[in-house]
Amino acid sequence: MHRLLAHAFALLAVLLVASPATAQLRVEITGVGSNQFPVSVANFRRDGEIPQPVDEIIRADLQRSGRFRMVDAGPTPLADTAAVSLSEFKGRGADALVVGSASRLADGRYDLRFRLYDTVKQTQLDALSYVSTAAELRLNAHRIADRIFEKLTGERGVFATRIAYVVQLAKDSFELQIADSDGASAQPALRSREPIMSPAWSADGTRLAYVSFESRKPVVYVHTVTTGERRALANFRGSNSAPAWAPDGRSLAVVLTRDGLSQIYSINADGSNVQRLTRSAGIDTEPVFSPDGRFIYFTSDRGGGPQIYRMNTDGSGVARVTFSGDYNVSPRVSPDGRLLAYVGRRGGRFQVHTLDLVTNQELALTETALDESPSFAPNGRMLLYATEVGRRGILASVSVDGRVRVRLSGPSGDVREPTWGPFIK
């Protein structure tokens, strides 16, 4: 509790969005001078029963990114066709305004429309209409948030992407779930009575590799998400774990113990051509490819405690990458290849860190003590990770500058092992 209080004092701003869809969304913005773009998202006009709070989803998305400050547009819905006084919104402090409408069509589908205005230049920046089933309404709200994000920041939005993670619901009940990037609309891809760990998306977002203990030992599976078709990729004598896809999706790096301790191997996606990549006397694990496919970063205790190393994809040219602290694990490389994210233990606390691979600057991003499994958003602006609050695993995201931390309220149960999926066409 005292930590919560300390947190509250440490925060320069805690924004609570008190609306049904985002009742538990807590966005913590820390650090001086965070430069947030002021935007107003008016309530959408509803025509008929609309099963999703589309305007609230858009607001929550933009807020979670930490890049925007919400300017209240008032309770009156403003449709995409409404004549609005842009100078009035400019006067309220909003540099951009979003208006829109959601209508139930005669055939049972829904038409979702929005319009984005620049209140400073008094121009329209974007406008679009999505016609969809009820099931796709939420996705289309995320797509609108993505377009707004891109128009206003010049960077691609990630709200319509998906995340995968593992939930333990009871002592012998585990699920690998796939959800929207905000943790909502969770669907189980796999249910098991035994633990599941280390889910990894293929670069095209069609397949997940993961470790399942359903045969009372760790075995690596490859699972096609849309069909549910799955098969054991690595089921060798000993333990099989830590799958990582090569960017081309044709092979993976995995960790096997068939020759003794945990070592890194490459294996084709069809299970053929197993090649040993590391030959150390200790533990080599948690391989991950750099996005350009040139390197594999991994965790090794060859120097004593666990540190992060890098090697060429054929196993040659091994070099140590992390030097501060005596425990650095779970490497992930940013999409542009510039940042390395990992969990570092400092003073007994396990926290998400980044290392700038060009300047060698290390940055601690969180204030929690039991962080695990950092994973970059596909635009490289945020990291998703698992942490613990009151002995329960939860998911949280943090901006790569460490200023914006958000606790995801969507998934229930003991949640762990999150991994952010790629952009999908």
Binding site: P195, M197, S198, V211, F213, R216, K217, P218, R237, G238, S239, S241, A242, V255, T257, G260, L261, S262, I283, T285, E286, T299, P306, Y327, V329, S330, V343, R345, F350, L370, E372, S373, R391, R416, E417
Partner: protein
């Protein structure tokens, strides 16, 4: 082990016994199966076998299965480790030796050593730590003469804790290698 944990363990054991008792419901309590073909014999007997035959078991020489005899050192199956350590401590050497001798004397038996780790840190790194503990026990057994093919080492990492507390007493119970004959 705290008294609380002992009570919890005892409760679990009692529950397990109850379950076992349920599983072996006495035959008389089941509804009698309709008699259709007497020549098929009772369950478990081969057709045509003499239903009055008696197969003698000589308990004077055979005794209890040493793996399930609570008096045998083989009934102990867990080796505990210190923090960040893979050394089989002297207090567990007798246990490991007993299993080594058993494997040498019973070359047909197969053993799976399941390594475990406490919850702190990366799940994959903890899986590797559990594997390292299982391997430490295996190399002892190999030195005692057990064959490579008799032993498989796997790891559960931090995924299957026996103690779920967030304190050293719980963590110590989870830094463990279990010996399971299959």
């Amino acid at each position: 082990m705290t008294p609380n944990r002992l009570i919890r363990l005892a409760t679990c054991a009692a529950a397990a016994l109850l379950l076992a008792a349920c599983a072996s419901t006495p035959l008389e309590e089941q509804p009698a199966a309709p008699v259709t073909d007497a020549s098929a014999g009772a369950p478990g007997t081969k057709p045509g076998a003499d239903s009055r035959a008696v197969a003698s078991v000589d308990a004077t020489t055979k005794g209890l299965d040493p793996l399930t005899d609570p008096a045998s050192p083989l009934s102990k199956r867990s080796v505990y480790f210190d923090f960040d350590s893979f050394v089989v401590k002297t207090e567990f050497q007798g246990l490991v030796e007993a299993h080594g001798k058993f494997l040498v004397g019973n070359p047909g038996r197969r053993l799976v050593i399941e390594g475990n780790a406490d919850e702190r840190g990366s799940r994959e790194y903890n899986l590797a730590l559990g594997q390292k503990r299982a391997e430490a026990v295996k190399s002892r057994l190999r030195l005692l003469g057990a064959a490579e093919a008799q032993i498989e080492t796997v790891s559960f990492g931090e995924e299957k804790p026996v103690a779920t507390g967030s304190d050293e007493a719980s963590w110590a119970q989870n830094r463990r290698a279990d010996l399971n004959y299959r």
